[in-house]
C-alpha cells in the first residue's frame, strides 16, 4: 500500500513540464490532483520512473466564457471549484448538476477536471459530461498543440488519444443551442461512491416542440463513456412523449450499452437502472428545454 520509488519534479512552467514529458515519455506521468493516480500507485497498479507534478504550473486553472458563449476550462481547475463556480452553473448546467456526484468533497478539493478526463475511468462522471456536451480538448506537447473532440479523445478503458509527450491543458464546452435541456442521473449505493450506472442527456427542441437533437451518454456501461446514438435518433424528428422516452430508454438499455457487472450489480440490474435513469433524465431535460428560451440556461 505504498508506491514504488520514483523521481519527482515540480516544474513551474508548462514548457518545462512538457520538456520533461518529451524526454521521459511513457516512463513519466503527470501528477495533477492525484486522486486516481496516487491510489493506483499505492496499489502498485501503476509504477512511474518520474512524476511531473503540474500543480505549480500557472495559468491552467482558468474558468471563462468564450466569445461564442461557451465555456473555457483549464485542465487544472479543481473539481470543487467547478462545483461552485457561477459561470459553470450558468453556462454548463449539465456539468454543474453532475459535479456533486464526483467522489467526495475531500477528493474534489484536490481532484482536477483534466486529471479525470485523462484518466478516462468508465465509471467517472466527467468523461461522460465531456462527451455529452461535445467538448473540445486542447492537448499540448513540446512540439505544438492540437484540438480533439471528446468523441475522438476517449479510446476505451483508461485509454485516451494522448500521446506519451502530450498533456491535456484546456477544455472548451460549446454553448448549448436555444431550447436545450440537460439532465444527469446516477445511482450509487453510497453518495460519492462510483455509481452502478449513470446517464447524461442533452435534448433540443425546435418549432412546435419537435425534438431536433438528442444525446444520451452512459457511465459505467462499457469500457469508457458510452454514447447511445440509436436511442437518441429514435427521439429526433418527433414531439417527445412519455411513450417515446420509454422506447428510447429500453432500446439503449437493451441494445446499446454494454455493462459488465461488478460485485454490487449484475449486468441485468445495470440495464434496469439504465431504463429507469434514462426515463428520468429525459423527462427532466424535456421540462428544462421547454422552460429555456436561450441556450445559456438549464
Amino acid at each position: 500500500m505504498k508506491p514504488a520509488a520514483f523521481d519527482y519534479a515540480a516544474p513551474d512552467s508548462l514548457a518545462a513540464a512538457l520538456a520533461l514529458k518529451a524526454a521521459h515519455g511513457d516512463e513519466a506521468k503527470f501528477l495533477a490532483g492525484g486522486q486516481s493516480l496516487i491510489p493506483a500507485m499505492n496499489f502498485r497498479l501503476v509504477q512511474a520512473a518520474l512524476l511531473v507534478d503540474v500543480n505549480r504550473v500557472p495559468g491552467l486553472d482558468g474558468v471563462s466564457v468564450a466569445a461564442d458563449g461557451g465555456l473555457r476550462l483549464g485542465a487544472m481547475v479543481r473539481q470543487r471549484a467547478l462545483e461552485r463556480h457561477p459561470l459553470v452553473a450558468r453556462h454548463a448546467p449539465l456539468l454543474f448538476e453532475a459535479m456533486p456526484f464526483v467522489a467526495h468533497p475531500q477528493i474534489r478539493n484536490r481532484g482536477t477536471l483534466g486529471g479525470s478526463l485523462a484518466h478516462a475511468d468508465p465509471a467517472a462522471e466527467l468523461p461522460v459530461i465531456a462527451l455529452a456536451l461535445d467538448a473540445a480538448l486542447r492537448v499540448q506537447s513540446a512540439a505544438g498543440e492540437r484540438w480533439l473532440p471528446a468523441g475522438e479523445f476517449f479510446l476505451g478503458l483508461l485509454t485516451t488519444a494522448l500521446t506519451p509527450d502530450e498533456m491535456l491543458v484546456e477544455v472548451a464546452l460549446p454553448p448549448l443551442p436555444p431550447r436545450t435541456g440537460t439532465a444527469f442521473q446516477e445511482f450509487a449505493r453510497r453518495r460519492g461512491d462510483y455509481a452502478l450506472l449513470g446517464v447524461a442527456v442533452v435534448l433540443t427542441l425546435g418549432p412546435d416542440d419537435v425534438c431536433t437533437a438528442a444525446r444520451l451518454v452512459y457511465l459505467n456501461a462499457g469500457d469508457g463513456p458510452l454514447a447511445a446514438p440509436e436511442a437518441a435518433a429514435m427521439l429526433v424528428g418527433h414531439r417527445p412523449t412519455p411513450e417515446a422516452f420509454v422506447a428510447a430508454a429500453d432500446h439503449a438499455a437493451q441494445h446499446e450499452i454494454a455493462p459488465t457487472g461488478n460485485v454490487h450489480a449484475t449486468p441485468d440490474y445495470q440495464r434496469h437502472l439504465a431504463r429507469v435513469l434514462t426515463r428520468r433524465a429525459l423527462t427532466a431535460a424535456l421540462e428544462r428545454a421547454r422552460q429555456s428560451a436561450t441556450g445559456s440556461t438549464a
Binding site: 500500500m1 505504498k2 508506491p3 514504488a4 520509488a5 520514483f6 523521481d7 519527482y8 515540480a10 501528477l31 492525484g34 486522486q35 496516487i38 491510489p39 499505492n42 496499489f43 512524476l51 507534478d53 500543480n55 470543487r80 467522489a103 467526495h104 468533497p105 475531500q106 477528493i107 478539493n109 484536490r110 453510497r190 453518495r191 460519492g192
Partner: protein, 162 residues
C-alpha cells in the same frame, strides 16, 4: 531515488525535512513529525481516516505526497484544541453526544466537519450526512456522529445569540 528538502507549516509550526518522493503525506505526518493523530485506514482514499486540512481544505493525506506539501499550510487533528484542557467545540460535542466508540475514524471526521460547519453553521441532517459521506465509521452507525454535529451547531448558534 532523489531526496527533496521540503518546508511546510503544520498547526502553525514550521518544519523542514528531507523526504523521498514516494513518502505519503500521511506517513510523513505520523513518522517524520510524530503527529500520529492523523490515522491511516485504507490508503486508497476511501475511508477518510487520514483527512487533514491542506491549505485550509479537507483532503486525504494518503492521496498526497509529502513532497507536494512543500510551502503549504496543513492542519491536523492535533491543531484543533486550544490547549490540553480545552477541546475544540466540535470535539467536545463528539464527546458529549457519544459520537465515537473506538475513535479510529474520529480525526478524519473532525477534519472534514470543522470546515464544513464554518461554511454551513446550521446544516440540515441531510447536509451533514452528505458531508460525512466520504468518511467511514465501523462502530457508531453515524447516528451519534450526526447528533454531535447538530449539538455543535446548536451550541455555536446559542453562543452567537446569547
Amino acid at each position: 531515488m532523489s531526496a527533496h528538502s521540503i518546508s511546510l507549516t503544520v498547526n502553525g509550526q514550521v518544519y523542514t525535512r528531507t523526504v523521498e518522493p514516494r513518502l505519503l503525506l500521511s506517513d510523513f505526518l505520523r513518522h517524520d513529525l510524530g503527529l500520529s493523530g492523523t490515522h491511516v485506514g485504507c490508503e486508497h482514499g476511501v475511508c477518510g481516516a487520514c483527512t487533514i486540512l491542506f491549505d485550509g481544505q479537507p483532503a486525504r493525506a494518503c492521496l498526497t505526497l509529502a513532497v507536494q506539501a512543500d510551502g503549504r499550510a496543513l492542519t491536523t487533528v492535533e491543531g484543533l484544541a486550544a490547549d490540553a484542557k480545552h477541546l475544540h467545540p466540535l470535539q467536545q460535542a463528539f464527546w458529549d453526544a457519544h459520537g465515537l466508540q473506538c475513535g479510529f475514524c474520529t480525526p478524519g471526521f473532525l477534519m472534514t466537519l470543522v470546515p464544513f460547519l464554518e461554511e454551513n453553521p446550521n446544516p440540515t441532517e441531510a447536509e451533514i450526512r452528505e458531508a460525512i459521506s466520504g468518511n467511514l465509521c465501523r462502530c457508531t452507525g453515524y447516528q451519534n456522529i450526526v447528533a454531535a454535529v447538530k449539538l455543535a451547531a446548536e451550541r455555536r448558534a446559542g453562543a452567537v445569540t446569547s
